[in-house]
């Protein structure tokens, strides 16, 4: 992939497992991203971000010293101190609690991705680029759990299979264009589906993608 230096994405990586950290650094550098630094824990990460002011931060949720949610807290802190910085957290959890903590502020430029996604390098770098561009990226498996959840008869039950697929992609943070491409529809059709669905679910139509992500996820979770 050839990207001019001016457009090269600068990112920092926070991951306590050395092998994985170095692997990620290599893969992402090979993919044409500029890895401005790596950190082994949250404190290092915050120092690194302060010094480097990267465009994107890639952080493991669980890091030393407590191995619980340091990465998440650091991500929230980074968003608070440097609001323009995009953040992707790597999680081992399919559970949504952390996701919503992360989304509580502004969903723009936020990614919540299961750790094993790093295996598909092309997809993974794609996700990083999307987040860097201000989109939201929510792991499909997490979204799938919310969409396929059994629920009482309600508006969701009235959606067609096609509409549900669109809904899931919306929840993953995809734009109408991306949804159209993935589902082989015209952008116009996608727009119609989205409009219908929002009307059925009683959601206010949201112009910006990252706003509708939160709206849809919240709806699905409730």
């Amino acid at each position: 992939m050839s990207v001019t230096a001016a457009h090269r994405l600068r990112l920092v990586i926070a991951e306590d497992a050395v092998l994985l950290r170095e692997g990620l650094r290599r893969v992402l550098t090979d993919a044409g991203l500029e890895v401005a630094g790596v950190a082994g824990d949250a404190a290092q990460l915050l120092q690194l971000v302060a010094a480097q002011r990267p465009g994107v931060v890639l952080a493991d949720i669980r890091m030393p010293p407590t191995q619980t949610t340091e990465g998440l807290e650091a991500a929230v802190e980074i968003r608070r101190r440097w609001p323009g910085t995009a953040v992707i957290v790597l999680s081992q959890h399919v559970e949504t609690e952390h996701l919503f903590e992360l989304l509580a502020g502004d969903a723009r430029g936020i990614g919540y991705v299961l750790k094993e996604r790093v295996a598909d390098i092309a997809q993974f770098t794609g996700a990083i680029r999307r987040v860097a561009a201000g989109e939201s990226v929510i792991d499909p498996q997490v979204v799938a759990r919310l969409v396929t959840r059994p629920r009482q008869d309600g508006p969701l039950q009235t959606l067609t299979e096609r509409e549900l697929a669109v809904l899931a992609l919306m929840a993953e943070g995809r734009s109408n264009q991306a949804i159209a491409a993935q589902l082989f529809m015209s952008p116009k059709t996608v727009e119609t589906h989205v409009g219908n669905m929002f009307a059925k679910l009683g959601l206010l139509p949201a112009a910006e993608d990252h706003r509708r992500v939160l709206a849809v996820l919240t709806y699905l979770r409730g």
Binding site: A17, G23, E95, T96, E97, H98, E116, V118, P150
Partner: protein
Amino acid sequence: MSRRALAWLIAGAVAATACYFLVARPPGPNAYLIFYLGTPAVAVAFLAAGLAAWLRWPGSRLGLLFSLVGYFTLLPALDYLDNPAGFTIGNAAVSLAGAALAHLGLAWPTGRLRSRFERGVVVAEYASAAGFSLLGMLVWDPAFSGCDASCPANLLLVYGSRPAWDAVNVLNAVVSAVLTVIVVVLIVRHWRSARGWSRQAMVPLVWVAVVIGAESAITNVTGLYRLPPLANLIFNGWAPLVSLLGPVLFVISTVRARTARGALGTAIVDLEPGAPPGRLRDTLARALGDSTLQLAFRDGNGFTDTSGLAVDPAQPDPGRAVVPLTGPQEAVLVYDAGLELEPQLIRLTVAAASMALEHSRLQAEVQAQLELVRASRARIVEAGDAERRRLERDLHDGAQQRLVTLTLALGMARSRVAGVDPELEALIEAAGKEAKEALTELRELARGIHPAVLTETGLAGAIQALVERSPAVVTITEVPRERFPAVIEATAYFVVSEALANVAKHARAGTAQVSIRRLPGRLAVRVSDDGAGGARPERGSGLAGLADRVASAGGVLRVDSPPGAGTRLEADIPCP
């Protein structure tokens, strides 16, 4: 007391009473029966009380004093004898019963006089009773009292003088009245200074002393005059019967001791097990009727009673007595010395107190052991939880992390060979898929061992996760966002987890509700569904295990699952 002594005493009393009826002249047709029967009635009552008192309190002088009053009451009847000696003795002894009565009152309730002064008063009582009678006899010509020649002679008569005799009588009345007042005042003072059991014993005596004292003072005065027949009937016939209150006093004290015995038994039965020593003391004191009762325990070198006062069993305060309790605990009862008269009551109290203390001790021991077992069970569960957390963390930091790294490496390898060696690429892709599967399985395994989301975000996130995973339609009514101690969170979590697993497996339920409410001192977990019901804790080992788990946290699990009407699982978990 020996049977022999008892026989003598009974014989004496019967003989004295019989003698009275032998010597006393039956009343004539116009006389009042009270003058004939009043004396033996009073005497017999005192003699009987004396016997009973001797039996009840063999070591005390009270039996003797009661008997003495009885005999002295009969003695003046000797003047019925048509015999100068009897006539003389009878007249001389006319006031002795009153003196003995005063003696009895001052010696009540122990039988002992309390001070030198009181001994002096008693001596004065006897001396004035005998002395004035004898003095009067020296100058009394029976003719002064309307006796004609039919009266026997006064053997002590030296010189008959009416003015002298009148003077002796007045002096006698004055001295008697003064002595009576002194005795009554002393008795009132005894009552005022007495505490506990003794004070209770003094209460009826004060009433009796005031009544008898008043009667004695009045008849002292009226005795100086020749009374009209009705006044004579009242003052000399009926009034002396107030002496019967003396024996009544004995009856009251007997009833009181008996009541105390019964009350002690009831009190010990009613005393809740494990009551604090202070409560035991209060109960015993109330039942016994001794408000001064102290229950003292060994405390270092000395003893301390239940209200924190130091007690020296070797040297009790004056008027107090000490008895040790039986049993492994070193404890003593300190009580009013007046109770020494009732050794049986003391023995009973000691037995009751010892038993109650022993009961409390055993109770406390069992409680302590139970507490140990409870604590150890809680520790085992906590250790299990900690071990599960450690395992989960090890899996995450170890195998999971390595698998992620492996998948990344495989991804890198795959991108290297992409388009170069399709066969190898397919192979690497398959390996990557396997690694991902392994990762997913490992994640589920780790989650089952211990949900990291519980440690990380508490109940709210963990319950939400459970609900998202449940194949049934589950709504969360309420879950507190605050954090609780790990054991409490884990217990609440496993209750909901197990309940939802049952909903999915057995209940054939459409919907379920979960609520966890923070109540004062506890966490109330409730999971209810609209399924088939019929769940029984003993049937599924899952529910039984869950009940154990909740119990180990000090809580209770209730399962309400009528067939066909859904299942409601409720756990109350203590929570500070």
